[in-house]
Amino acid sequence: MEIFIQSAAQISIQNPLCEDWFETPIIPTLPYNRSIEPDYKQFILPIASRRMGKLIKRAIATSLSALKQADIQELDAIITGTGLGCVENTEKFLSAMVKEGEEFLQPTFFMQSTHNTISSQVALFLKCNGYNCTYSHRGTSFESALSDAFIQLKLGKIKNALVGGQDEMTPDYFNMLGKIGYWKTEISPEILQTSNSNGSFAGECSAAITLGTEQKEQSLCKLHDVELLYKPSKERMQEVLQDMMTQANISSIDAVMLGISGDQKNDDIYKDFAETFFANKPICWYKNIFGESFTAPGFGVYTAATCLKKGIIPQHLRYNNIQEQELRTILVYNHFQNKDHSLILLSKC
């Protein structure tokens, strides 16, 4: 059974709910960046959205947008990956607890401070009683959610799924991560590409993609496989890559989408991967325009799927200068702290 990415939508530090980033990206210059918010009133009535934190509103807006693009009326599953959940409300709730004790805790912040609030609020909004699950696996949360959807579609348990990657970056959390060297002080495309220092820049992620078993005119690409590996050896990685390509009947990968972010410690792993398995292949990146977040790999899949649909890779997503002969397959590779690794194989419809 073939699986297709039917549609995708994003709210990020790029212009929201559109593909402006493909031709005219916003170039980040600061280490801390919040998402650009769309007008939520076109999706949610103010009276319904008043209890929703920013992340919930973003999740609903991207979900509705992706479902509309894919023309999905009946949704079988909502699966969300989130590293931190609704951390803004968690902070409000915990701060109130520290300041006021346990007597004056506001119920709304408590209710919306859990990780699985996102998936459940989307389900309530869509009136979807289907499978609902949340994966909170830090840097591989999105891929875990995608893997769940992929397996269920392959097994025929569902016919379509909405998969989200949702994370926000609060000022406090940004500052905390800064203390352990997560961020650079200066950001530019040149610095991100040539820096020998650790740290990158922060973004926020709200990516929603729909999957289905039926190819449609608007389908973005085929999703052949999702593999999650824990501390794989090079031999194991080679074996899995070969298996993925054999299963998909693909003889060659045309481009590789990596989570390179300008953080030398992380980027060295990606460069080693590229040199070992994909020397002389076009290497692409996406964190240079979307920033770093636990679910940023959601943007990796989103950008790769968009490139396949359009048939080109824009210059600002190219990390090296090697050109592909044709663009039919993209492998998305991500790792988190060189422990959790993910491989996602996509091809043109």
């Binding site: 959205s49 209890r51 006021e100 007597e103 004056f104 506001q106 119920p107």
Partner: protein, 85 residues
């Protein structure tokens, strides 16, 4: 009393995050629940916390709560007579 009513309206707008509603939009004598502002049971919990935190009034009886939260004016009168803060 009018000062307290205005203060209360502002606090309710803030705590319930009533976007695009100003104190002038809230009818002082209209029911808070069902009609009027159309608040629900979670809002009732938020209002109970507001009463306790800002005015030192603990509302732990739901029947009593129904009476107190009848309208902004009723709330303000109850606060005026029972506040400890």
């Amino acid at each position: 009393m009018e000062e307290l009513i205005l203060e209360l309206k502002k606090e309710i707008i803030e705590v319930l995050n009533l976007e695009e509603i100003t104190p002038e939009d809230i009818d002082t004598d209209a029911p808070l629940f069902g009609e009027g502002l159309g608040l629900d049971s979670i809002d009732a919990l938020e209002l109970m916390m507001l009463m306790q935190k800002n005015y030192g009034i603990k509302v732990d009886n739901s029947e009593k709560g129904k009476e107190i939260f009848k309208s902004i004016r009723v709330m303000a009168e109850f606060i005026s007579n029972n506040r400890t803060k």
